[in-house]
């Protein structure tokens, strides 16, 4: 029989992991069970999931590393010219 009760700290850690799909099945069960009786963690989980959804939005853009690198190179060259 697996240990079902965990501390909130542990539960939050699992919740964080779950946002990146890195939680194991056992952990997911434990978390669900924890959320049944812990209101604070329910709230945390809700917020955390919401944040994940926001970030997953395709409209959130980041410059990829190579483009950034190129930008930096061009910029450095110009900087050197100035000095």
């Amino acid at each position: 029989m697996i240990k079902l009760k965990v501390e909130c700290r542990e539960a939050n850690h699992i919740c964080d992991k779950k946002q990146y799909k890195e939680a194991s099945l056992r952990e997911k069960i434990v978390l669900t069970f924890h959320l049944l009786y812990c209101r604070a963690c329910r709230k945390y989980t809700a917020r955390n999931t919401k944040l994940t959804k926001l970030v997953k939005n395709p409209r959130v853009e980041t410059l990829n590393t190579s483009a950034k690198h190129k930008l930096q190179q061009a910029f450095k060259a110009e900087l050197r010219k100035q000095q």
Binding site: H13, L51, R59, L63, F75
Partner: protein, 184 residues
């Protein structure tokens, strides 16, 4: 008020994502956005002497970027007649002869407002990201936005996995409350 210092060496690292999101919501093209940012940084460098320290660097760069975006639109519209809006009511041959009313966009479909909200989300998110401590922001970005493996980040940043999760946890808590304040 503390005087703001200017430090061009960190510009690309610190502001490029924010400016990129800001630009892409306005020009809708990755390539053009990249060019505009690059121009902005160079222009900023040239007029560094004019920076009075009354605003933060980022505000100042955004001000330059705004001019660049306006210039970009002016340039594309400079030829006479291009600025004029042309509408053709019969675009496809299939709809030829249909009543105009039948071709009106579905009001319950995705509306323009949805799009505006979505585009500004990126700006809001990077704004919040800018408020985090630098290390947290970097790791959060690597993990969440760039989808790096946990191990890869650990190796690169030279930290342990549990260390990483603590940082992620703090970053997420801060990001969630920041987004709640600024977004919802």
């Amino acid at each position: 008020m503390a005087e703001h210092k200017i430090n061009p060496n960190d510009w690309v690292k610190r502001y490029s994502d924010y400016l990129f999101n800001y630009t892409i919501t306005r020009v809708n093209d990755r390539g053009i956005a990249q060019d505009l940012i690059s121009e902005t940084f160079l222009a900023g460098l040239k007029s560094m002497a004019n920076f009075k320290g009354e605003a933060t660097e980022r505000t100042w760069l955004v001000a330059i970027l705004k001019r660049k975006i306006i210039d970009h639109y002016r340039k594309t519209n400079s030829n006479k007649g291009k600025a004029e809006v042309r509408m053709s009511y019969n675009s496809g041959s299939e709809t030829e002869g249909d009543w105009l009313e039948e071709r009106v966009a579905d009001p319950f479909d995705k509306t323009a407002e949805d799009k505006i909200e979505n585009t500004e989300l990126g700006v809001a998110l990077h704004n919040c990201l800018g408020k985090l401590p630098e290390k947290q922001a970097k790791i959060f970005k690597m993990k969440t936005l760039l989808n790096y493996e946990t191990e890869a980040i650990c190796n690169e940043m030279d930290i342990t996995a549990s260390n990483l999760w603590v940082i992620i946890h703090r970053a997420r808590t801060a990001m969630a409350s920041c987004m709640e304040e600024n977004w919802f």
